[in-house]
Symmetry: C2
Subunit: 245 residues, 2 copies
């Protein structure tokens, strides 16, 4: 930045306060629109996210000489917790999601009962109460499982982001713009984070989604039907027209 004559220490002075409304067009990055055969969505809210790290401690023992009843198997306990994370998210129902993406076992020997397992939980909900309910139930059930199995349990919060609602006026306007372009847009929650989430602190925000083929995202297969890209830009243009005049 300095080479170009800019001063990074003055970045705060670049903040703008002349923006009234921010409209973002994005690919969905999931399979919801494709599954519903819907070409366009107006986003209602961006989910809140919490990332947890769960450490389960048992006792490493010889896999041949330790009867099942004398074990404190960290992986068997962690497996019950992974199941619990999935079933709690399912039982809370859409749009709650919870995912165990990483799981490491120690000492990781074929003939040793695992002594320690560390796994992560990614949990998301567009409503702060829903996000907290999801987390509380997961923490509680992991606690019950660890007590029943005489395992140590430590749950650490790695990250927390509050959910952000899109502005009601902008949602209405985007739905109208879609209708004027001949499309009945559906409303949906965004499970991924977006720029609109940050700008919501500064101005009115709204988002449009077009379908992702096969829901693929962040990989070489990421793609969207050109007809959907065209529709998205048309509705975006009509939205800006409606906002400006």
């Amino acid at each position: 930045m300095r080479e170009r004559g800019l001063d990074p220490t003055k970045v705060a002075s670049a903040a703008r306060d002349d923006i009234d409304t921010f409209v973002e067009l994005h690919i969905e990055q999931g399979r919801v629109l494709e599954s519903a055969r819907t070409p366009l969505a107006v986003v209602s809210a961006i989910v809140g996210t919490a990332h947890l790290e769960v450490t389960v401690t048992g006792q490493p023992d010889h896999a041949g000489t330790t009867p099942m009843g004398l074990r404190r198997d960290a992986l068997a306990g962690a497996a019950a917790m992974v199941q619990a994370v999935e079933s709690i998210a399912k039982s809370l129902g859409k749009p709650a999601v919870a995912t165990v993406g990483k799981l490491n076992v120690e000492p990781a020997q074929i003939n040793v009962v695992p002594g320690t397992v560390v796994f992560t939980v990614d949990l998301r909900h567009p409503d702060l109460g829903g996000r907290r309910a999801l987390e509380e139930r997961i923490r509680s059930l992991c606690g019950t499982i660890s007590e029943e199995r005489r395992l140590g349990l430590v749950i650490r919060t790695l990250q927390e982001k509050a959910p952000v609602a899109m502005h009601a006026e902008v949602r209405t306007l985007l739905t109208r713009a879609a209708k004027e372009c001949g499309v009945q847009a559906t409303e949906m929650v965004s499970g991924a984070g977006h720029d609109a989430q940050i700008l919501a602190a500064k101005c009115k925000v709204g988002m449009l989604f077009v379908p992702s083929i096969g829901g693929r995202s962040h990989c070489p297969e990421e793609s969207t039907d050109p007809a959907h890209l065209r529709l998205g830009t048309e509705v975006l243009a009509r939205s800006l027209e409606l906002l400006a005049y």
Copy 2:
């Protein structure tokens, strides 16, 4: 070996056929004797072992944008299988044991639904029929879980060892020797492999176990009460006397 004037190519000629009975004294390497407050055991059999490698394939997806119902989560499926391995061994009852010691997740990202999980199963039983029943039930239940969850499943056998019974005459003789040393020995299965397992192909074999403190084995904490070590050597000596005269 060559430096010492020995020829490694002639190792087969060192095989002995003049051994009638082989008696092995060993620490238990588990917690069974300590839990039962028993100072000595006569081994009835050494378990048969099978090592399996299980590969579960689902689809990696964005943890935020993929609703629970559209997922093919390899780790959620593998967790159900880990639970199944434990519950099958428990329901078959002692002395069956089954252990998942290693488990690797891909792509192992906090915000990605796992696409592939590879885990190992170590399963043991002193009776070949029992060992096979254990393996068949595990294979069958893993198959059911993978079908229900639309996951790919490949189970590969890494290693198989048949169970080995200790010789009936030697077992009787060891129990008598213990009695003559003032101890009522219990009978138990060895969950770990031992030299007697190999020599059983050549001669009559028998084994004595003394307790391991806390069941610890293959670690710096491995230890046995000196009184138990002394008892073991006394019973061993009496056994050899009974065998020789």
